[in-house]
């Protein structure tokens, strides 16, 4: 395979149909003093140009860790990638030399984080931090980089960009800071943008503006977007496909419309009934009982079984499908839908094959 | 010494003040929280080898100060024979002899008592002054705080050794009790008088942090008196950083005492003191280096004992350091 060509605009690749990114059976664990913590346990997904994939899960479900593994910014140690592959445009990033991997960060894959205030360096102006992308990857001079930074700030709709380019992160509001992060991330027209809880720290009205901005940018450039969130509303509005994570595994996957209207995994089902929905006013919310699992001691069998209302134990269970001993694989339940539950058909209300 | 002094004081203020994490009081620390803090800290301490080295050394020197005879192997430090003057260490006399021909081991061992007495007394006075002034300044705020803080600034601007040096020099010609005694009391008071400011700042900042917390507001809403709030809710929060600071400061002040004595304004002959021994030994540093070396070594180990215990204590009491 030749060197990756990251100079062509993503839009030109958009219709070729090959996936930009394929994550294959990724395993990550943290080696701590009190033993290994299994943060990601065999996650696989792919992303095409123009696609928006939402990764949905509670904190500790491994969604951020898998994203950081893709970026190659996991703290190693304590984190160790113990298995799997991350294929970016046909090349396994885990087998690349560090220097080559670094060159993909920015023009290839880019990332924005939840807390823009702590994620921006407080002692440099935002213009400098945005311009750094051009200086590090394109070898531009200071002046030219600053000019490009102003253009980018305009593009992410920061008012009076030319005047504010030399301001410091703490001088911006939360929403504006997140726009600065976005400007930085899209500076080199990346193939893929990973947004890790981009709107969690923001006001609801500002959330919508930031999501709109991301969608518009995706429209313009054709980049693939991985949206990591626990916010069902955000997923519903912007994502094409959704992968639901629990205890470091994907437990359900499909298009947003399908998964949201008819969940095939009891955990997804539980998530849907635990948030208020505008359509069904007056109904009672049903929280999922119990605590998210301790990743140092993941329950045997189906990791969700201690909290599952549909679990079947002992004699109740069908052969080979005992929830506390048999691990349910992620399998195709109905066309276009995968779920990791022994009894997904039951959840969906369709006859078993 | 002065420089190290200043440094240590400043360092402890910085570290103890910011790292104990007790200054973020969103929950009441009385009973449960406080208990778990101390039992967690003890669990952490038990596993820290530095703490054990410090503690063993500390206990060793404490015992040495109480029953020096045991460590001196029964030799009287004042039983001297000029014929042995400056004799080098031997199997019978591990530390050799000093200028007067006295057994040096006995002399060095007997020096522990005055050092520890002065170090501990000075720190106790520092704590009394620091806690009282700091609590008043922090609790009442406003003009009171302004005046007391400026006062601390004034003392802070004077190097510890320099202030104590001047006071101890003019002390004997005054009629102020203790100060004019040329004894351990005078040295301890001089050190405390120019060394209380960091404890005051520690307590003051803790009090200010806790004062504005929700649970103190709640206690006040339930009609608790100002004094009760201060004693029951606010001061317990300041215990951890002040304890760390006090432990290290014992060591620092022991070193300062030796320095003042060396400079001629601390303890006077015929008192037995490491500072005096170092001072007397420096003239024969070429011919009999052991006369400087042994008191220096024991002095250093004593200071190190307290510094190590304090360091370990700070690490144990700092929740952020725990994985």
């Amino acid at each position: 395979m030749t060197n990756l060509d990251l100079t062509k605009p993503t839009a030109e690749l958009a219709d070729q149909g090959t996936p930009l990114l394929e994550v294959d059976d990724l395993h990550v664990e943290f080696r701590t003093r009190s033993g290994p913590v299994h943060a990601v346990n065999g996650v696989s997904y792919s992303l095409a140009a123009r696609e928006t994939l939402a990764i949905l899960g509670e904190s500790g479900s491994g969604k951020s860790v898998s994203a950081q593994a893709i970026m190659g910014i996991l703290e190693t140690p304590p984190a160790v990638i113990t298995g799997g592959g991350i294929w970016f445009q046909g090349r396994n990033m885990l087998e690349m030399p560090a220097e080559e991997q670094r060159k993909i960060r920015g023009p290839g894959i880019s990332m924005i984080f939840q807390d823009a205030l702590s994620s921006l360096n407080p002692v440099y102006s935002v213009g400098f931090q945005i311009g750094e992308m051009f200086r590090a990857h394109r070898g531009m001079g200071k002046k030219e980089a600053r000019k490009r930074a102003v253009e980018l700030m305009d593009r992410v709709r920061i008012p009076a960009a030319a005047r504010r380019v030399d301001d410091y992160p703490h001088q911006f509001s939360g929403g504006m800071r997140q726009r600065v992060m976005i400007a930085m991330a899209i500076a080199l027209d990346p193939r893929i943008l990973i947004a890790d809880e981009p709107t969690t720290a923001l006001d609801v009205t500002v959330q919508a503006q930031v999501m709109d901005l991301l969608k518009d940018l995706q429209e313009e450039t054709g980049m693939g977007l991985i949206l990591i969130t626990h916010d069902l509303g955000v997923v519903n509005e912007v994502a094409d496909n959704v992968a639901v994570m629990y205890a470091g595994e994907i437990v359900e996957r499909g298009t947003v419309d399908d998964v949201f209207t008819r969940p095939a995994h009891p955990y997804t089902d539980g998530l849907m009934s635990s948030v208020p929905q505008v359509e069904s006013k007056g109904g009672r919310l049903q929280p999922i009982v119990g605590q998210p699992p301790n990743l140092a001691r993941i329950p045997s069998g189906c990791p969700f079984h201690p909290r599952c209302s549909r679990r079947r134990l002992g004699a109740e269970a069908a052969p080979g499908r005992e929830c506390s001993t048999d691990v349910p694989p992620l399998r195709l339940v109905v066309p276009g839908r995968e779920a990791a539950c022994h009894y997904s058909e039951e959840v969906l209300g369709v006859p078993a094959q | 010494m002065t420089d190290q002094q200043q440094l240590d004081l400043r360092k402890d203020e910085v570290e103890a003040g910011t790292t104990t994490g007790l200054a973020s009081p969103s929950v009441d620390v009385t009973s449960d929280r406080q208990n778990s803090l101390w039992s967690d800290a003890w669990g952490e301490l038990k596993r820290n080898p530095l703490f054990w080295i410090g503690a063993v050394l500390g206990v060793l020197f404490l015992v040495m100060a109480i029953v020096p005879q045991v460590f001196a192997r029964g030799v009287d430090p004042r039983a001297c024979d000029l014929a042995n003057s400056k004799a080098l260490p031997s199997a019978q006399h591990w530390f050799g002899y000093d200028q007067q021909g006295c057994d040096y081991l006995a002399n060095v061992v007997y020096g522990a008592r005055s050092s520890l007495i002065i170090g501990v007394t000075a720190v106790l006075v520092v704590l009394v002054l620091g806690v009282a002034v700091g609590a008043i300044a922090g609790y009442y705020g406003g003009v009171t705080d302004g005046i007391l803080s400026r006062l601390a600034d004034i003392f802070y601007a004077l190097p510890l050794i320099l202030g104590a040096l001047v006071l101890l020099r003019v002390g004997p010609s005054t009629d102020i009790p203790i100060i004019n005694s040329r004894g351990p009391g005078a040295v301890a008071i001089a050190l405390a008088l120019f060394g209380w400011m960091t404890a005051m700042r520690l307590v003051r900042s803790q009090v200010i942090a806790v004062k504005s917390s929700d649970y103190v507001a709640a206690a006040r809403a339930m009609g608790a008196s100002g004094r009760r709030i201060l004693v029951r809710h606010i001061l317990p929060n300041a215990v951890a950083p002040v304890l760390v600071y006090a432990t290290i400061t014992i060591g620092v002040l022991i070193a300062a005492e030796a320095t003042l004595t060396y400079l001629g304004v601390g303890l006077q002959r015929p008192a037995i003191s490491w500072g005096l021994q170092i001072e007397a030994g420096q003239d024969s540093i070429r011919s009999a280096p052991h006369l400087v070396l042994f008191p220096s070594l024991i002095l250093t180990l004593t200071v190190m004992a307290f510094v190590m215990m304090g360091d370990a204590l700070r690490d144990a009491l700092d929740p952020r350091q725990r994985a």
């Binding site: 910014i73 984080f113 | 002065t2 601007a157 190097p159 001047v166 003019v170 030796a258 070429r286 190190m304």
Partner: protein, 307 residues
């Protein structure tokens, strides 16, 4: 910024006055007679005592004495010692020695302390890191007094690398005393750098810098060191003020004729005017460099704005 500096300058005045008055009061007001002490064992004649008392306002109340002193101060007159030599001359003679010593100490402190701290902070829990931890504990525990003799013994007498007393060999004479003077701060700089660096390496913005695909060097130097060094640089700045006033022991042991040894000699001789003059100068240095550091903080960290 200008207004902040002005306000801070105003606030330093009471501290400066308070500290010099404190020393002044200790030297002149405590019972005991400096004139009589001057005579030592041989009492001075009453006529001489009378003249000296008049000259130093010793019969006026304390505040009048102090007022006379401050008045002199503003006209550049720091008074004279009992032998009639102007205090200003004494300071002019001794200050350069202390300044040289401080410069050597600060350079050693910054270079060695920073290097050790950075290496330890980047490779946490490595052999070198543990070495730095242990050796700094050791250095902090060794009293300056002991360290001074130890270095004299080792580097001066045994190895013969450096002169151990006096200033005859130029800047070379200052290396050992500078190292001794700097030792405690050096250890602290190393530890502060290490902690600060290790803490910053975990910061979110460092993760961002990696995610931006910046070269490792840029991530460490520009996005970690730059931030980590703010507290270190300010500590070193404030330390200049502390070291200028803190060299009594070092200068005495190494026989350097600086203001530290001068003030010590003057305290012993109860030369009040010299003591008060030099201590006031030391306090001024201390306050001045603290103020400089506060301003420096605002320059280094844009989040801090004083107006």
């Amino acid at each position: 910024m200008g207004r902040y500096v002005a306000r801070r300058l105003l606030l330093t005045i009471p501290v400066l006055i308070g500290a010099s008055f404190l020393i002044f009061a200790m030297v002149y007001a405590l019972p005991g007679d400096p004139i009589r002490a001057l005579g030592g064992d041989r009492p001075l004649s009453p006529a001489v005592v009378e003249v000296l008392r008049e000259q130093f306002h010793l019969d006026d109340p304390l505040y009048v004495q102090y007022w006379e002193y401050v008045r002199g101060l503003f006209s550049g007159d720091l008074g004279t010692d009992f032998r009639g030599r102007p205090v200003l001359d004494t300071i002019e003679r001794t200050l350069p020695v202390t300044v040289k010593l401080t410069i050597v100490a600060i350079v050693l402190e910054a270079v060695i302390g920073l290097t050790a701290g950075v290496l330890a902070g980047i490779r946490r829990n490595s052999f070198f890191d543990n070495l730095v931890l242990v050796s700094t504990t050791l250095v902090v525990s060794i009293p300056i007094l002991v360290l001074a003799f130890l270095t004299q013994l080792l580097f001066g007498l045994k190895l013969g690398w450096f002169p151990i007393a006096g200033t005859r060999e130029g800047i070379y004479s200052y290396i050992l005393p500078g190292l001794v003077l700097a030792s405690g701060s050096l250890a602290y700089v190393a530890r502060l750098t290490r902690t600060s660096l290790a803490e910053n390496l975990r910061a979110d913005y460092v993760r961002t810098a990696r995610a931006k695909g910046l070269p490792n060097r840029t991530v460490i130097v520009r996005h970690t060191l730059r931030n980590s060094l703010i507290p270190v640089v300010t500590f070193i700045g404030a330390d200049i003020g502390a070291l200028l006033g803190g060299a009594i022991v070092t200068e005495s042991v190494f026989n350097l004729p600086g203001i530290g040894r001068e003030v010590f000699d003057s305290v012993r001789a109860q030369e009040g005017a010299v003591v008060v003059g030099i201590v006031t100068l030391m306090v001024f240095f201390f306050i001045f460099f603290n103020l400089v550091v506060d301003v420096l903080y605002a320059v280094l960290d844009p989040r801090i704005r004083y107006d």
